[in-house]
């Protein structure tokens, strides 16, 4: 920790004393310390800003989008974006559609904005469930040991043996036609599949933390003054193992967003909706699938969703790297 005791430039005793009192009054906690390290990292600040922007775009897509994403404009199909004056099939650019239109004349920009809803939801919603389940299981397995621990490790072996993406593909292919597969336009099934695979990673990392922490003196001290098991677990072990959990969260979100995009691109993700009342209309993966056949002549259909996916994924990666450096300075620069 850096302690600034004196300012050589000013050299005034009063300021010196004020500084000292400031320091004794405001000790910085681990989290404040980590936060100040995090906001010094430019890449992660940019990452956070991008994530916030995309989250806002997702929430207010219906307000921001210049057009209804489902509105079919006949005769405006394959309108090129502003930087191409005339498209390959002779349709001129239209200032109403900055990023062009797809085969049915639907606005690419509006559809991409609505696509943010799917990706941001996939990034956040399953994560909460996964962290909750994973942390609790890991906590119990690490603390109690024995049978529950053995069971957890066997499940982990199985999950690691099964290639993730293949599991998602098979689940989506087989259960897509069932009522569960139709819930939330297919997103519910996707979330469940993501949760089934990903909670294991969190459980393992919390278990590992707890295994080493429970031998530490502060746990012994807590036990000596008569703290109950649940108090030790939730008040002492849990807060101390949160660092790695936060890092893993930021690291696994891009993976989930990519998974959704890949599945959408295979036609297995979100079921694109034609009902304007639906919250989820289309996803970036599905947009790229729709544009795939036109990649040679009308590449703008894929460009915007592809840029959007890349931006969001990069933003989470930068934030994850920053969090790792901030919460665990020993790891700085090793990766």
């Amino acid at each position: 920790m850096t302690t600034q005791v004196s300012h050589p430039s000013t050299g005034q005793t009063q300021a010196h004393i004020a500084n000292l009192t400031m320091m004794t009054v405001k000790p910085r906690s681990l989290w404040q310390d980590a936060w100040s390290r995090l906001i010094k990292n430019k890449a992660s600040v940019i990452g956070m800003v991008v994530i916030v922007i995309f989250t806002l775009l997702a929430i207010f897509a219906s307000v921001i989008a210049p057009h209804n994403p489902l509105q079919i404009n006949s005769g405006k199909g394959f309108t090129p974006p502003m930087w191409i004056p005339v498209g390959p099939n002779g349709v001129p650019a239209d200032p109403n559609f900055i990023f062009g239109t797809d085969t049915l004349g639907r606005d690419v920009l509006s559809r991409t904005l609505y696509g943010a809803r799917v990706s941001m939801t996939v990034g956040f919603l399953p994560t909460f469930i996964i962290i909750f389940v994973g942390t609790i299981v890991g906590l119990f397995a690490g603390y109690r040991g024995g049978r529950i621990d053995n069971l957890l490790m066997r499940i982990t072996d199985v999950v690691y043996a099964f290639p993730d993406l293949l599991f998602f593909i098979i689940v989506m292919v087989t259960l897509r036609q069932t009522p569960i597969g139709q819930m939330m336009n297919g997103l519910f099934l996707l979330f469940s599949a993501l949760a089934v695979v990903n909670w294991v990673g969190f459980a393992r990392i919390v278990r590992g933390q707890v295994l080493s922490l429970k031998e530490k003196e502060f746990v012994e001290a807590a036990r000596c003054i008569g703290a109950t098991d649940s108090r030790i677990m939730f008040r002492h072990l849990l807060p101390n193992s949160l660092g790695p959990v936060i890092i893993l969260t930021a690291m696994s979100i891009p993976g989930m967003i990519i998974t959704e995009a890949v599945l959408g691109y295979l036609g297995l993700g979100l079921i694109p909706s034609t009902n304007p009342k639906d919250f989820f209309i289309t996803s970036w993966g599905a947009s790229m699938l729709e544009g795939q056949t036109a990649i040679n002549a009308q590449p703008w259909l894929l460009l915007l969703p592809a840029i959007a996916v890349s931006l969001v994924v990069l933003a989470f990666t930068f934030l994850g790297d920053g969090l790792r450096d901030a919460l665990d300075p020993r790891l700085q620069g090793t990766q």
Partner: protein
């Protein structure tokens, strides 16, 4: 060593069992059967469906179907058909008269196995791995030697993009640049016999692995550079080139080499989107087609092959490690 190898190989059996059980259960939990067509198309009539079910043994109880898949069963003519333990992945429900292993491993007539679907995917995987090694390792070494210079920053920037951006998005960008805008390559070539058409898919597929290789090489180099034996080598007056090549690079490549097995498995199994994009005649595109056609036996068989490849690659890591680094002992 032999005992360890055997134990790791035996570990494959539960992996295959678990993967096939999960896929089998999911396939049969799915509504609709393999004979269903799209609602718009002409449906298979019930009599034919019954015959097909009898022919493929789908009228038997589930547990018998499962044991038939794994071990084998007698068919309607009383002949014993061996299952998975003989390497038989069963018949395809969509491609008449072909078994899964024939679809995946049988080359067109009078050609070697490298012209089979598996062979094509394997070759693509090897080419992209070569690209990853030939670019990734020098890039990693260079950026470690010139740490915190412009070279390092540029390389780190490309590496971060390569690691984060999924390969099909990368493919879209590169196709738009090189095929749609510059017209340098054809996206779907007429034949795959020329070398030039392999370049773009191999580069796209290998980009992520290249980035990971570069990052790992850099990290490993930075660690090696601080070791005492490097200082010793320098202080006994060795030429800088010798110190770098013989002492630094040689020692920092150990973790990189161990990564290559899983990387190849990842490249072979992870190529289905790239293969589909380029109309590549490989295993991945066959898999995606099977998904579209709901060819259950094909999906199940290909998934199993993928899972075995990944598991084998993971076993290979431990073994390569032991050969390369005598300090590591297997319990």
């Amino acid at each position: 060593m032999g005992k360890f190898l055997l134990r790791r190989m035996l570990w494959l059996i539960p992996v295959i069992l678990v993967v096939s059980t999960i896929t089998f259960v999911l396939m049969h939990a799915a509504p609709g059967g393999p004979w269903d067509r799209d609602l718009s198309a002409r449906q298979v009539d019930p009599v034919t469906q019954k015959m097909l079910n009898e022919y493929y043994g789908l009228d038997k109880p589930l547990w018998r179907q499962f044991t038939a898949y794994l071990i084998g069963d007698t068919n309607s003519k009383g002949k014993f058909i061996c299952g998975l333990i003989c390497g038989n992945l069963g018949p395809s429900y969509r491609q008449r008269g072909l078994t899964i292993q024939q679809i995946l491993f049988m080359p067109p007539e009078e050609k070697s196995i490298i012209y089979s679907r598996f062979g094509y995917s394997m070759r693509l995987g090897v080419y992209s791995l070569l690209f990853a090694i030939l670019i990734g390792i020098p890039a990693g070494v260079l950026s470690a030697l010139k740490q915190n210079t412009m070279t390092d920053y540029i390389s780190l920037f490309i590496v971060t993009i390569g690691i984060s951006v999924p390969n099909f998005v990368m493919a879209i960008f590169l196709i738009i640049i090189f095929a749609s805008t510059l017209h340098m390559v054809n996206i779907v070539p007429r034949s795959w016999d020329e070398v030039s058409v392999w370049v773009l898919p191999a580069v796209i597929l290998g980009f992520g692995t290249m980035a990971r290789t570069a990052r790992l090489t850099r990290a490993s180099m930075l660690e090696t550079m601080r070791q005492d034996y490097i200082r010793t080598a320098r202080s006994k007056g060795l030429a800088e080139r010798v110190v770098i090549v013989r002492h630094m690079i040689k020692n920092s490549l150990i973790p990189v080499v161990t990564m290559l097995g899983p990387a190849l498995a990842g490249l072979v199994t992870g190529s289905f989107i790239i293969e589909t994009m380029f109309g590549f005649p490989g295993m991945g595109r066959a898999y995606v087609t099977a998904i579209g056609q709901r060819d259950y036996s094909m999906i199940m068989g290909t998934t199993l092959i993928y899972a075995v490849l990944v598991a084998l690659a993971n076993v290979s890591v431990d073994m390569i490690y032991v050969f390369l680094d005598p300090r590591i002992r297997l319990e």
